[in-house]
């Protein structure tokens, strides 16, 4: 019995008996699942040793050995070493949160001044071939599925652009058959008409496909590793391409090899030991920077949220204080890296964290499909796809802009020229 993950398992009464049986076997019988460390057909293997380095460090990390002295020493150093970072992530650093925040604020100001970037995500399809147990888009979850047509994409983008937004992040569910690379490429070409900066958060692809997407106009690729503990990963991503842990790990590197300007990284905090996942995420960024010093790298920090049909999912032991500690530690260790805080977090938390270390926030967010007109302008539409997760901060672009300004920050809509 897979008790640890039981909270995630929801059976839909719409599933045919055969599918239900298969779902249960995937959940309860590890031998029924494929080898998650083995590449599937068509997945490109690149020559990279970053995985091994990151995993080794993460496995050896024992955060219980750090003391208040280590934390004080870390905060007194001009440059934050890896050992310092480990101390800042440890439970011993909890009483030093205010000092960490002060230091993080200083680093943020030196590197970014008082700027904060505003962007919005646009989900263009929610079909998915994976069974990731915590995700609202998972293939066994009974939700309204939708894939936008090019006309619908154009329309959604117009509605968003009308608010003044200039940066867009295009997302899909992970289905190569429903949302193939060409479909995404065409969506990007439409986005170039309305936006000045385009990122994608889609299933991992090969170098030549990233190159094609870059030529279409994409400059940033975000891929969340979810958890860097591959054993835990295996118990959460039970079926589909996403099950292959190493192929996902190398996504950012393949994207940069394909000519992308930047890459985003993250673990989904709460899935496993968040301190170890935070360490691994930062090390992943650190080593990519060593090999690709020109790349503009960014970190996110999503925590688990409730999904359609399962309101029991929560961020477990990662409270707001823990999240704040992780983000401050990220900033002190990697002062040059962008930090994005999404609408999974509350307005109050985002207002506060933007003053300390976040450099990018989303606004006017919907994680549903084709419902921007409804959400922005109140026009009702029956034909929409369900959301990936419940957002927490539903502020509009205008409101976010004003709130950031009121917080003494300078909202920036674009800082980018496509060259």
């Amino acid at each position: 019995m897979n008790e640890e993950n039981q909270v995630y398992f929801i059976d839909s009464d719409k599933l045919p008996p055969q599918a239900l049986e298969r779902k249960h076997r995937l959940e309860q019988d590890p031998s029924f699942r494929t080898n998650h460390m083995e590449y599937m057909e068509g997945m490109e293997v690149i020559d990279s040793d970053i995985k091994d380095i990151v995993v080794k460090e993460m496995e050896e990390y024992d955060y219980s050995i750090y003391t208040a002295k280590d934390v004080e020493r870390a905060l007194s150093h001009e440059t934050c070493s890896l050992e310092d970072f480990k101390a800042l992530l440890s439970p011993a650093a909890a009483p030093f949160l205010e000092q960490m925040a002060r230091r993080a604020e200083l680093e943020t100001k030196n590197h970014f001044g008082n700027t904060v970037y505003i962007f919005t995500p646009l989900y263009i399809a929610n079909y998915c071939q994976n069974y990731c147990v915590y995700c609202g888009f998972n293939c066994y979850n009974n939700i309204r599925r939708k894939k936008l047509t090019f006309d619908e994409i154009d329309h959604e983008m117009q509605v968003i652009a009308k608010t003044g937004m200039e940066e867009i992040l295009i997302l899909t569910g992970e289905s190569r058959s429903y949302s193939d690379v060409n479909y995404i490429g065409e969506a990007v070409k439409i986005a170039r008409k309305y936006f000045r900066n385009i990122g994608v958060e889609i299933y991992p692809v090969n170098v030549d496909e990233y190159k094609y997407l870059h030529e279409c106009g994409v400059d940033y690729v975000t891929v969340f590793q979810e958890t860097y503990n591959s054993d835990k990963y295996e118990t959460l991503h039970l079926m589909g391409h996403k099950r292959v842990w190493p192929y996902r790990f190398d996504s950012q590197e393949r994207a940069l090899m394909g000519g992308m300007r930047g890459a985003g990284f993250s673990a989904l905090l709460g899935l496993d030991d968040f301190r170890k996942d935070a360490l691994a995420t930062a090390l992943h960024v650190y080593h990519i920077n060593r090999r690709y010093p020109h790349a503009e790298l960014s970190l996110s920090c999503p925590r688990l949220r409730p999904i359609v049909n399962n309101d029991q999912i929560n961020p477990r032991d990662v409270g707001e204080k823990e999240l704040c500690q992780v983000l401050c530690a990220y900033r002190i260790f990697l002062p040059f890296v962008g930090i994005t805080v999404s609408s999974r977090e509350s307005a109050e938390f985002r207002n506060g964290i933007a003053k300390i270390c976040a450099t990018k926030v989303s606004a006017g967010v919907s994680t549903g499909i084709g419902d921007h007109e409804e959400k922005y302008e109140g026009k009702s539409d029956e034909d929409v796809g369900d959301e990936q997760f419940e957002i927490n901060d539903a502020r509009s672009f205008d409101q976010m802009y004003k709130d950031m300004e009121n917080g003494g920050l300078q909202p920036v809509l674009n800082d980018y020229i496509y060259v």
């Binding site: 001044g113 700027t115 920077n289 020109h294 790298l297 020229i417 060259v419």
Partner: protein, 254 residues
């Protein structure tokens, strides 16, 4: 005789180049006024925004724009950004910034020389941001640069004149204005660079992160003026190691 800074045939009374982009745009006007700056830098990628937000609208008339090519990773990209800048009406001045390093934002000297050569030929007034190196500075001069902008320390680090000895060599050897750029964290450091003979100071983060942006701009202005005046006056004797011995060492010579 009036002491003027001449870059690309244009005369400036102020030797303070003000950065923008790291503080609220509505402070630019006050910072320019209180700092007495006549040149203000502008990242073209920041100006590449919708009209209502355009940073260009916040820049007071009569101030010379110095658009920079930040975001460029090689000469070719810098050249494209410079041409775009001219087409957008930002004038002929351009500060070349070519970075292949996202962590320290160090300039790539080799690519910078290449871009300088092309853009100078196209009639741009080229001010290259560079890592202080005498040979590179000479190459930039030969390529047609209007000034040379060596870094004092990594951008945003506020570490002061970390490359002091190298910058002194450029001041001594290069017949172009040497404008110290990046890393200047406080007015005293700006003053020190001016005492050394730097032609001007470019500062951004030090001012942007101050509690009162216009007031810090003014502090820089005063420090830069003090340093310049000291340089022009000729510094007096500053003893490095205590007093001299009272009996002259050469007393035995008759």
């Amino acid at each position: 005789m009036e002491d003027k800074l001449v870059i690309g045939g244009k005369e400036f009374k102020s030797r303070f180049i003000l950065g923008s982009g790291k503080y609220n745009m509505n402070l630019i006007k006050a910072a320019v006024e209180q700092g007495g700056a006549e040149i203000i830098t502008l990242a073209l990628r920041r100006a590449n925004t919708q009209e209502s937000e355009s940073i260009l609208d916040f820049i007071p008339k009569g101030v010379t724009l110095l658009p920079n090519t930040s975001g460029a990773r090689n000469a070719e990209e810098a050249i494209r950004i410079a041409r775009l800048s001219r087409a957008m009406g930002c004038g002929d001045f351009v500060k070349i910034e070519i970075m292949r390093d996202a962590k320290y934002l160090f300039p790539d000297n080799y690519e910078t020389i290449k871009a300088t050569e092309t853009l100078a030929k196209e009639g741009f007034v080229v001010l290259p941001y560079m890592n202080p190196d005498l040979n590179v500075a000479r190459d930039l001069q030969n390529a047609g640069a209007a000034a040379v902008m060596p870094l004092a320390a990594p951008i945003g680090s506020n570490k002061g004149l970390a490359t002091k000895a190298m910058i002194q060599v450029l001041i001594d050897e290069i017949d172009l204005p040497i404008i110290v750029d990046a890393g200047i964290g406080k007015p005293s450091q700006a003053c020190e660079a001016m005492e050394m003979g730097a032609a001007a100071i470019m500062a951004n983060t030090a001012i942007a992160t101050a509690g009162d942006v216009p007031s810090m701009a003014e502090s820089f202005k005063l420090a830069i003026e003090a340093g310049r005046k000291a340089y022009l006056t000729g510094m007096g004797r500053v003893l490095a190691r205590g007093a001299s011995a009272s009996d002259p060492l050469t007393g035995f010579l008759h």
